[in-house]
């Protein structure tokens, strides 16, 4: 426990030091990593704990971003109100998605969330008068108090940290345990008297809410949303972060986000064939560390440290 606290303190200190140690572009990169970590974690809540892998979270994330941009740049509203509306819209979308998707599991769940995501993408692309179509929505939407890069980084850090804590509490609560029960055996949970559909529904909506929160941060960060923001590629990228970091670990999403975004930036620096390198990295990860980087590290640590049985 002591060692964990030490590691935690070290990570927290390192995260707080980023704007000083690496100002400029690297801080904005770190901000992006945090935002995508939050999105990846929201997917992990479903994928890792309820056993439902969603390909629609990129769309929920994008809806929040669109709403924030629309409310501020087109309607001329206040960014904080926009953030609240963005969260509301994302949650509403998550409710609709959940109602349609929770009846299914496995590959069917994957496909139905994919289809729902594609619908959102199609709407963003074609509803030109509202979404700006292919060109998207642009404009400075960041609230004035956190406009500077360092201030914004701390804002995102605080938001992501509280979201991470909330999600961690959520999955480790008794309710979270029922989700894990559902992952293990749906029929057994049902015979034990749990309303499986309701639990999945709540799990999905909570996860969607956090994806929306990440979307709001992304709108503030990027000042721009286009159909690419809600596209399938966005969902897939976040899911890959979960897979690389480790499904069902939450902290793995952070590791995955840091690993993929830095790799993307580092590799594209050296070759224009960077998607190829990225693909190889995914394949290698899946072969040699199918439980993800964090999962693998845990396994290795567990093997090395002798288990001390608590009295």
């Amino acid at each position: 426990m002591n060692r964990n606290a030490l590691v935690f303190a070290a990570v927290a200190a390192a995260l707080c030091a980023v704007p000083f140690a690496a100002p400029g572009y690297k801080t904005s990169l770190a901000t992006e990593m945090l935002i995508f970590a939050a999105l990846a974690m929201s997917i992990d809540v479903l994928a890792g704990y309820a056993g439902r892998t969603s390909l629609g979270h990129g769309a929920i994330f994008g809806i929040a971003a669109y709403v924030v941009l629309y409310y501020v740049t087109v309607a001329g509203g206040d960014p904080w109100v926009a953030a609240a509306l963005g969260l509301l819209a994302a949650t509403a979308a998550a409710i609709v998605f959940a109602l349609l998707a929770i009846r299914t599991s496995g590959v069917y769940f994957l496909l139905i969330t994919l289809a729902l995501g594609m619908i959102v993408w199609g709407i963003c692309l074609r509803w030109t008068s509202v979404t700006g179509g292919e060109n998207g929505l642009r404009g400075s939407v960041r609230p004035a108090p956190v406009a500077g890069p360092a201030a914004f980084y701390y804002f995102v850090l605080a938001a992501t940290a509280s979201m991470a804590f909330a999600m961690w509490r959520f999955v480790h609560s008794p309710f979270g345990l029922t989700l894990r029960g559902i992952r293990g055996s749906e029929s057994r949970m049902r015979t034990l008297g749990y309303d499986v559909s309701l639990h999945l529904f709540i799990g999905f909506v909570v996860s969607g809410f956090f994806a929306g929160a990440a979307g709001v941060l992304y709108a503030f960060f990027n000042s721009f949303a286009s159909p690419a923001t809600v596209a399938l590629a966005q969902s897939v990228a976040a899911l890959l972060m979960v897979l690389v970091g480790g499904v069902g670990t939450l902290v793995g999403s952070f590791v995955g986000s840091v690993a993929i975004i830095s790799l993307e930036n580092f590799v594209s620096f050296h070759t224009e064939r960077w998607p190829l390198v990225l693909g190889l990295v995914f394949i290698v990860t899946m072969i040699f560390a199918p439980e993800g980087l964090v999962g693998r590290a845990r396994l290795i640590l567990a093997r090395q440290t002798p288990q001390v049985r608590k009295p």
Binding site: G24, Y25, K26, S28, E32, L125, R126, T128, S129, G133, E134, N135, G136, R138, G139, S140, N222, S223, F224, S226, A228, T229, A233, N265, S268, E272, W274, P275
Partner: protein
């Protein structure tokens, strides 16, 4: 602190400051001018992205990577045909690689995303391909300049005028359903209807339409004198092929946007493309010194005729080189640099006669009505059939008056009711 040591410290620090400042300035000027080039090297328009980089680099190679007394360093980044990636890469080029300016992008959405970013920090951004009208009209940004580029509706207006002159009175437009298409069609329809023509029908289809058979029979039954098709990328080659397959080729005159008969499309096509008429500021088959030389040089270096992307960035590089010369390479002085770029009168370039920018940052130049024809060696290329001199983005309208009308969209096409 002792008086003596205080004096010593002050003197030392003053000396350090005085020697530091000029040293730093001279070091900055002696270093290379760094140009950040954004190009879609992966994604839907990757082929065009490659040619963009080739065209841009070709010019710098020809002049030995040197202009205005400084070396030129081009840092290429892939925007992946995705606006979010473009934004991220632009940020990186400016904040990490410390480039002095940004150039490039092909897709309008990527360019608009980057334009929004440089609006905040004043980094010069040059857009030889990004054609969105409002970037140099209603929503112009002082540090975004369209060197060697064109605004979407600029080239289709002379085409409409040409059509009227040839006796065309009824047209149908077919276009990809996005801003670039809306603007190109808008320019065409406005001039065409103001000149007495009528638009029978407008078809809007999504990008990447594999099959045009829902539209072609309808076109046939409406019996227009001509069709204006605004297609970029693979849609262009598919449309021209299916147009011929449906047997419409010799019955109805086909006008297209310059992208649809660009080299990037027609080098893969056969006889079906011959005779298609378009309008543009680039015409690879034009018999003019600098243009001919560019086409020959490019063909020699890369084994194919240049596309609009290569052409625009080659000319754009030329434009920048002239500006560097004019200010002695001092690009760090941004206002002066931007002023110099705006004041350049570029002659002896592949753009043809002397070219300059209007006061909104968009070039004024000759537009050629071009026809796809066969070169003696069998390759297809565009040859000029008529020339419109000194066409601006405002055609014959008064700029301020013109900008009071809404931007072209699906809803507003500038069509004058008869």
């Amino acid at each position: 602190m002792h008086r003596r040591s205080f004096l010593k410290a002050t003197a030392t620090s003053l000396f350090a400051m005085s020697s530091w400042a000029p040293h730093r300035a001279s070091a900055a000027e002696a270093g290379p001018i760094r140009i950040g080039l954004l190009s879609p090297l992966t994604g839907v328009i990757a082929a065009g992205g490659r040619e963009l980089v080739d065209g841009f680099n070709l010019y710098w190679e020809q002049i030995g990577h040197k202009a205005g007394g400084r070396a030129i360093e081009v840092v290429v980044e892939d925007d992946a045909s995705n606006p979010n990636t473009a934004l991220q890469k632009a940020r990186r080029l400016v904040e990490q690689r410390e480039v002095d300016m940004l150039v490039g992008d092909i897709l309008a959405n990527t360019g608009l995303a980057v334009a929004e970013y440089v609006k905040g920090n004043g980094v010069p951004y040059f857009i030889p391909v990004i054609a969105a009208d409002d970037l140099t009209q209603r929503k112009r940004i002082p540090n975004v300049i369209r060197i060697a580029g064109y605004s979407a509706s600029q080239s289709t207006r002379p085409l409409a005028d040409y059509a009227l002159k040839k006796g065309v009175r009824k047209v149908i437009t077919v276009s990809q359903d996005y801003t670039f298409g809306h603007e190109q069609c808008g320019g065409f329809c406005q001039v065409f209807t103001e000149g007495g023509g009528s638009v029978l029908q407008q078809f809007w289809h999504p990008l990447n339409t594999p099959d045009f058979s829902p539209y072609l029979p309808q076109i046939q039954s409406l019996q227009p004198d001509a069709v204006f098709a605004m297609e970029t990328g693979a849609d262009g080659s598919r449309f021209i092929q299916q147009w011929a397959n449906f047997g419409l080729k010799d019955k109805i005159q086909l006008f297209t946007s310059m992208n649809a008969t660009d080299q990037s499309i027609i080098r893969t096509l056969g006889p079906e493309a011959e005779g298609v008429i378009s309008a543009g500021h680039f015409c690879e088959g034009r018999d003019d010194g600098a243009n001919k030389k560019f086409v020959a040089d490019y063909e020699k270096a890369f084994g194919k005729l240049p596309s609009i992307y290569a052409f625009s960035h080659y000319s754009g590089a030329m434009w920048l080189a002239e500006a560097f010369k004019a200010i002695g390479g001092k690009v760090e002085d941004r206002p002066r640099f931007l002023e110099a770029v705006r004041n350049i009168k570029l002659s002896a370039s592949p753009l043809g006669r002397e070219v300059s920018l209007d006061k909104y940052g968009n070039p004024i130049y000759d537009i050629y009505i071009r026809k796809v024809a066969r070169r003696p060696d069998g390759k297809l290329w565009n040859v000029p059939v008529e020339e419109y001199r000194g066409v601006s983005q405002f055609w014959k309208y008064d700029p301020e008056q013109y900008m009071k009308q809404p931007s072209y969209s699906r809803e507003f096409q500038g069509i004058k009711k008869a």
